[in-house]
Amino acid sequence: MTQTPLLEVRNLSVSFNTEEGVVEAVAGLDLEIAAGEVLAIVGESGSGKSATALTLMGLWRDPNVRISGSARFEGADLVTAGDDELRRIRGERLAMIFQDPMSSLNPVHRVGDQIVEQIRAHREIAAAEARRRAVELLGAVGIPDAATRADSYPHEFSGGMRQRAMIAMALSLEPSLLIADEPTTALDVTIQAQIVDLLRELNRSRGLSIVLITHDIGLVAEIADRVAVMYAGRVVEQGALDEVFYDPQHPYTWGLLGSLTRIDRPRPKRLPQIPGAPPSLLAPPTGCHFRPRCPHEFGRCLETPALESRQSKAPGHLDRCWLRVEEKRRRRQTEREIALDATGEAS
């Protein structure tokens, strides 16, 4: 990547105080996203995905939260930017949609007004003009009869329509980057597909960059250009979609991909799962965070592996695992064969 990335996160750490102690939610995170790219951040609950998103949006600034590192975005640093500078970036250049569209819209204001409010917070334009724009946006995200529906209240919208309205709102000032935090998790499966289609369409037609935060691997496969897998506050693997999906380098990623059911493969009796639970971030394990759950652990895992490329052929494919690449491929193959032996077909 020769051009400067749109967003470049370097060594981002986020920790916050709780009654039990300091929780390190994000530890030394490095990410970058190019213009027009869809980057998926994948991980289970508590892996630090949402903390990363909220930190980038500056929505996690609190005396209890300590943030370090940098996040360069269009000439500003989202970590050190003043509240006022951040406010101007937020909603204008950098927008976010949330997991639960049911509660993310204010129930007492009309949907159209909530979009108008955002437009007028950043641009000095007349109310009528802003409203025309809001209606246009609602139409663009696929809300039928947008002029009328702009006057509806959120409770008069279905879940899918609310998420569409959230997307319309996020797009209202044509941001260059959209952070979508589990945008489909709270929706019905059919609606999920529609929202994914909409996001993909926006990415293609408007060149909108998207950071998609999700635990839904299927969703990632559909839309992402690149994938970052997070585990216990760290990115453990990062690379192009195909690299990560077809040649996963980190045992955690194998596990994550192995826990998918696939219609093109024999159906296992039991869905494979990663044994154990993610570590407490109050006292994360030394070295590799995945070590306690990893069947391939060996002595060196007590040192923290850096996130770097370990294969000359794929310089953009980074991971945090000490195992040698050939060794990983061999073990992955063995694991898959064991899993296949346990399928219904084999018995």
């Binding site: 929505l59 406010r87 909603g91 927008a95 949330f98 993310s104 204010n106 409010e117 709102m169």
Partner: protein, 324 residues
């Protein structure tokens, strides 16, 4: 199609009439079963003869069956002909004389307590946990705990008689002198408002803190609104809904005579004071009169609160059925 508003009003009016009827019946019955409630004996003087008492009974209709007496009382109440047993003054006229004073007290106090409660509650919530918040919490508790008559007497004595800043009680008609009217009401307004400020600011504080954790407030911040816009348009707007409800109900109660103590301390001669006198004298017509007056306003404000609630929160409808 009938408008839902009309149907609501019609239904509310019907239930209002029912409530008022029930209240009047209850008051009437309670008075007639209370020991020492026989008005004829009390009206006849200190050492009445049997004939005197009988004569009064006949003259005032106390010998009639209860339901006839009730009907007569109600008819007089509705036509405004009810007369006090003891002062012989017309009850309706007396209430109407006191009502503007009570209204002036209630409206002013309600504005004062709401304004202070919003300011203090919001400030407290934004500074939750800080020293200023704790200080306000302590002050609110003191405000809630102070007896109205004690506070009223204190204010009236120190700021009124001693310092001479405010007049020492009494009421001046607005039309006679608006400034004097205002000056005479400042202390009563604050005296009555202090308790409400304490309660309301506490409730608002917790509402605001709760609302600040809502997802839509996070959305508002993500939109790039200024903190002030977030606070006023999203946090306060939504936090005020339950407070407005309470406000309407308390306002109705204060209009209805719940400010007796404040009226007494500052000699405002309002409806509350009239009610207190009526009860002290066992004066049935006056008691029924003020009770019905009070009940009327409480019921009316209940209905207004429901309407306001529906206007403030679009999810709520005046009709019981869910929106389609």
């Amino acid at each position: 199609m009938q408008s839902p508003m009309l149907r609501f009003v019609a239904r509310r009016l019907a239930s209002m009439a029912l409530v008022l009827f029930a209240v009047s019946l209850l008051v009437f019955l309670i008075f007639n079963v209370l020991p020492g409630g026989d008005p004829a004996v009390r009206m006849a003087g200190k050492v009445p003869t049997e004939t005197q008492v009988e004569a009064i009974r006949e003259e005032w209709g106390f010998d009639e069956p209860l339901y006839v007496q009730y009907a007569t009382t109600m008819r007089k109440l509705l036509t405004g002909d009810m007369v006090s047993y003891f002062t012989q003054l017309n009850v309706t006229e007396e209430i109407l004389k006191g009502a503007p004073r009570t209204f002036a007290l209630a409206i002013g106090a309600a504005i004062v307590w709401m304004a202070f409660a919003i300011a203090l509650g919001l400030f407290s919530a934004v500074r939750a946990g800080a020293l200023s918040d704790r200080l306000l919490t302590a002050l609110a508790l003191i405000g809630i705990s102070m007896p109205v008559f004690w506070l009223g007497i204190l204010l009236s004595h120190y700021l009124g008689s001693e310092a001479g800043i405010f007049p020492h009680g009494g009421y001046v008609e607005f039309l006679d002198s608006p400034t004097q009217w205002f000056w005479h009401l400042v202390l009563p307004w604050f005296t009555l408002a202090i308790l409400f400020i304490g309660v309301y600011s506490r409730i608002l504080r917790s509402n605001v803190i709760e609302t600040m954790g809502e997802d839509y407030v996070r959305t508002a911040r993500a939109k790039g609104l200024s903190e002030r816009q977030v606070l006023l348009r999203h946090v306060l707007r939504n936090s005020l809904i339950p407070i407005i409800t309470l406000w309407g109900l308390d306002f109705g109660a204060v209009i209805g005579g719940a400010a007796i103590l404040t009226e007494l301390v500052f000699s405002l001669q309002g409806v509350g004071q009239y009610a207190a006198d009526a009860i002290g004298q066992f004066d049935l017509p006056a008691v029924i009169g003020v009770t019905m007056y009070g009940a009327f306003f409480i019921v009316v404000f209940n209905a207004l609160v429901d309407i306001a609630y529906a206007a403030l929160d679009p999810r709520i409808r005046l009709e019981g059925k869910p929106r389609t």
